[in-house]
């Protein structure tokens, strides 16, 4: 949590990143930028999935539908925050010549998406819909 607070300060004070270490080869920074954008697209897809659950599954019960949509939206927001955090950390590690940061987030995200998918299958199988 303390590490996260430090990273948070880095987001808003670019000079602090620039002051450290040496500027890496610009192609490494561009690769880092593309990774950031890929995570942003993942976040957008999850947010879009939240909208889609609410709009295209009208037969689901209100609680199930809204709960599922909120779960997807929350994961999407977390994904966007994590994207910028990971980008800053990678950029700093490259400047310092350290190893790139490792993260549990991909595993957590995969498990979360898997859980939502299994929940959808169960909902359909058990027929928790308003339609008789």
């Amino acid at each position: 949590m303390i590490d996260f607070a430090k990273d948070l300060r880095l987001w808003f004070s670019p000079q602090r990143v620039r002051d450290e270490g040496e500027t890496p080869d610009y192609r490494f920074s561009l690769a880092n930028e593309r990774t950031f954008l890929a995570w942003i697209r993942t976040a957008l897809a999850l947010v879009g999935g939240g909208f889609a659950v609410d709009q295209f599954l009208p037969d689901l019960r209100w609680g199930v539908r809204v709960g599922m949509a909120l779960a997807l939206l929350a994961v999407g927001a977390a994904c966007a925050l994590r994207a910028v955090n990971h980008w800053v950390r990678c950029e700093r590690a490259m400047r310092r010549g350290e190893d790139l940061p490792v993260s549990r987030f991909p595993v957590v995200l995969s498990l979360g998406v898997g859980l939502v998918a299994v929940a959808m299958v169960l909902v359909v199988l058990l027929g928790w819909t308003d339609r008789p």
Binding site: D25, Y26, R27, L30, L37, R41, A69, A80
Partner: protein, 119 residues
């Protein structure tokens, strides 16, 4: 933004056939397309958001929600456009923190809007 261009290391391992103004790995090109893809993804999500906002005959809050989403998308487009122009340089500068935070803020705003409309 200028620091990277001034003190940047020469591209290591640049192929012999590479001219001075071209990266043999087309990294700026790929990054530019990545911004385009992301703008497209943002557009799709924005369309879903507008669809969510407008369900009735078009009351004032619905119109305001629509306008908000369109402005969000335009903001994202602006960030992407500025970055794409910066990428046109032979050795592009590092992505600015403001652009990164701006793109993230657009996604977060979409998520918050979605929660507000859902509940």
């Amino acid at each position: 933004m200028t620091g990277a261009a001034a003190g940047g290391a020469p591209p290591a391992g640049a192929g012999a056939g590479a001219g001075p103004g071209r990266d043999p790995g087309l990294q700026p090109e790929r990054t530019r397309l990545a911004w385009r893809r992301t703008t497209l993804a943002c557009a799709v999500t924005a369309v879903l958001a507008v669809r969510q906002a407008v369900r009735g005959p078009g009351t004032a809050p619905e119109v305001a929600g629509c306008a908000f989403i369109v402005l969000l998308w335009l903001a994202f487009l602006g960030v992407a456009h500025r970055r794409i122009r910066a990428l046109a340089a032979p050795r592009p500068p590092v992505l600015g923190e403001r652009a990164a935070l701006g793109a993230t803020a657009c996604v977060l705003a979409l998520a918050v809007f979605a929660v507000a409309v859902l509940l």
